[in-house]
């Protein structure tokens, strides 16, 4: 072991790399949540959309040996589930929280079923060789997408429509734009992005799909979205903060900070959650949701 390997600089670089990796699926899912919520539709189904994205990506990558096709399949699967969600909450006007929960449950049920049918294994897909996995692709994509979404919302007419669909749907409707169509687009885009986030989880951060592998990341993305006040760049920064808390937590485990005993694992592992609570409880100031969030729009 040479000095460079353990030096402070090397540690910082490793920490940064780890932060970027860990936050990739969060950033993607949070952007998905942003697309949906800015258009006025609450989306707690991010978790489920990520899960089917992860599953589809793992299956297609495994069978075609192409991670790019896998990513495409992940996005398509997320979009498909988003269509179902859109049908429930935009067309059929069901309660968005209830429908979102139902979508999450559906995804958690579909995944093991598909694995069973395809591979005779409950909740696992065969693992993908290192040559067919992404090493960093989705991470770059995620951060490029943050800028793209920010620019889109700010400077393009369709971005403006999305913002108005969530703030003043009546005004948008008066201008002759179909509000619910804009919301459909927002919801489907959220499925595409969450599906991509799921794909990052299964074919970049690990080598197969495993049961419930999202492990609450969809909800963390939602927290980041609120923390970031529904704006793309702050939301991405919030995801990075959560990722950083996770990365530092990994490196703090078993380290003796004071006395002779290391800090208990349980204590170290609450760090990301403490950060979330602190941040949501006061450090952010007033977080204001899009005004028409969760309200149905009736052309009437």
């Amino acid at each position: 072991m040479n000095a460079a390997e353990t030096g402070a600089w090397a540690l910082l670089i490793q920490l940064a790399a780890s932060t970027l990796r860990v936050s990739t699926p969060l950033v993607l899912a949070a952007l998905g949540g942003l697309a949906s919520e800015r258009s006025g539709v609450i989306n707690i189904a991010l978790e489920g959309m990520m899960l089917v994205g992860a599953l589809a990506a793992a299956i297609v990558t495994h069978s075609t040996a192409s991670p790019w096709l896998g990513v495409g399949a992940g996005m398509a699967a997320g979009a498909l589930l988003a269509l179902l969600y859109g049908l429930c909450v935009i067309r059929l006007r069901s309660d968005q929280i209830v429908a979102g929960t139902a979508i999450n449950l559906l995804a958690a049920g579909i995944a093991p079923f598909v694995c069973k049918v395809l591979y005779g294994a409950t909740g696992q897909t065969p693992s993908i060789g290192i040559e067919n996995r992404f090493q960093s692709g989705p991470t770059w994509m995620a951060f490029a997408l943050v800028l793209a979404v920010a620019a889109w919302l700010r400077w393009t007419p369709s971005g403006l429509w999305v913002r108005f669909a969530g703030e003043h749907p009546e005004a948008l409707s008066t201008a002759g734009i179909r509000v619910n169509r804009v919301r459909w687009a927002g919801v489907v885009l959220s499925g595409v992005l969450s599906g991509l986030g799921g794909a990052a989880l299964s074919i970049q951060l690990s080598s197969a799909f495993s049961r419930n592998m999202t492990a609450g990341r969809g909800f963390m993305a939602l927290a980041a979205l609120i923390f970031g006040k529904w704006r793309p760049v702050p939301t991405a920064l919030a995801c990075l903060l959560f990722g950083f808390a996770d990365a530092i937590q990994i490196r703090l485990q078993g380290v003796v900070l004071w006395g002779s005993e290391p800090v208990p694992v349980q204590f170290i592992q609450i760090l990301p959650y403490v950060v979330t609570v602190l941040v949501l409880a006061g450090l952010v100031g007033q977080a204001r949701a899009p005004r028409a969030l969760g309200q149905f729009f009736d052309r009437g």
């Binding site: 409950t122 090493q135 197969a208 495993s210 592992q269």
Partner: protein, 332 residues
């Protein structure tokens, strides 16, 4: 409706009467959260029951629990049907077995990894610390950096037992070696989070460890991925996992859950089932390190000789491997 119900109940009566006549024993297997295909602990139990099917003609059904609250329901539903033996896999099911077994005194239960003292329950316990000691010794023999890692799934006494045995094994070969230990989590999720396990493994490899022992259930796959990406060594757990990344897996600490399960089924089939505690250690091949064609080149003849000597000393009691369960007792 009533006709359907009546026909149904006639069938049910037939089924109950008929099944013992032409089938062997019926075994219900309740797996824990890792699921049948965790390539580790649950897979091993599943293989054991499957062996009962092929060798003893037993009929079996397996169920997996989606969360820690369903064990009781699953075990009870087996007990209420005509299953002769219900096998609960994993420490998390101890409470459920403790509650249900007294309600069905004629049924037989087996519990893997925990102890429930009831006349109709057989507790199958493994001496994980002994096997972990040996793989720890192997890790220290193969390590060039003098630094090795350990990654546990959920932070529970059982996994601490792996860790302490491993650490002792490492130190027995190289007293100056350091062992870095990490845990994936403190809830049941920890068994099913490969990305997190991978991050932990990467951080250990980056900190200079060149062999990492993972006892993390289905999360373990992440550790294998990290070893592959960093070109370092990994030690598998529970099942023989040498095949997963040939050439990167130094060995696996096998826990013969399959053998223990088979043994129990056989006892039931022969009518010799007895409750109580059964221990599986190095002495009766309940735990061991795995050697096969996948890791043949990684383990030199000299290493093998030393390992066999260590094994003998543990079996004869010359080496006392620290046991976390007893350490806990000492500390109150």
């Amino acid at each position: 409706m009533s006709i359907v119900r009546r026909v149904g109940s006639v069938f049910l009566v037939f089924a109950c009467l008929a099944s013992p006549a032409f089938a062997g024993i019926k075994v219900g297997l309740v797996l824990d959260r890792g699921g049948k295909d965790d390539k580790s602990f649950n897979t091993s139990a599943y293989l054991g029951v499957q062996q009962c099917k092929s060798k003893l003609g037993a009929e079996f059904k397996h169920v997996e629990s989606p969360d820690d609250t369903s064990y009781e329901t699953l075990i009870r539903s087996f007990a209420q049907k005509d299953y002769d033996l219900i096998i609960a896999v994993g420490f998390a099911q101890a409470e459920a077995v403790k509650k249900i077994a007294p309600q069905f005194p004629n049924k037989r239960f087996a519990l893997v990894d925990s102890v429930v003292e009831l006349p109709n329950v057989r507790s199958l316990m493994f001496e994980e610390h002994e096997g972990s000691f040996l793989v720890g010794a192997m890790a220290a023999m193969s390590s060039k950096s003098g630094k090795v890692g350990f990654i546990g799934g959920m932070d529970i006494p059982l996994i601490r037992r792996f860790e302490k045995g491993y650490e002792a094994g490492v130190k027995s070969v190289n007293p100056k070696a350091t062992v870095v230990s990490n845990y994936v989590g403190v809830t049941g999720e920890a068994w099913n989070n490969p990305p997190k396990a991978k991050e932990l493994a990467i951080s250990q490899y980056q900190a200079g460890a060149d062999v990492v022992f993972g006892a993390a259930g289905a999360s373990g796959m992440g550790i294998f991925d990290a070893a592959e990406e960093k070109g370092k060594l990994v030690i598998g757990c529970d099942s023989n996992q040498n095949w997963i990344k040939p050439g990167k897996v130094l060995t696996s600490m096998v826990k013969r859950v399959d053998a223990a399960v088979y043994d129990t089924c056989e006892a039931v089939a022969k009518g010799q089932f007895q409750g109580g505690l059964k221990r599986f250690g190095l002495g009766n091949q309940g735990v061991d390190y795995a050697l096969d064609t996948n890791n043949d080149k990684l383990v030199s003849g000299e290493m093998r000789k030393k390992l066999e000597a260590l094994k003998k000393s543990i079996v004869t009691g010359k080496i006392q491997v620290p046991d976390f369960y007893k350490m806990k007792g000492k500390n109150g």
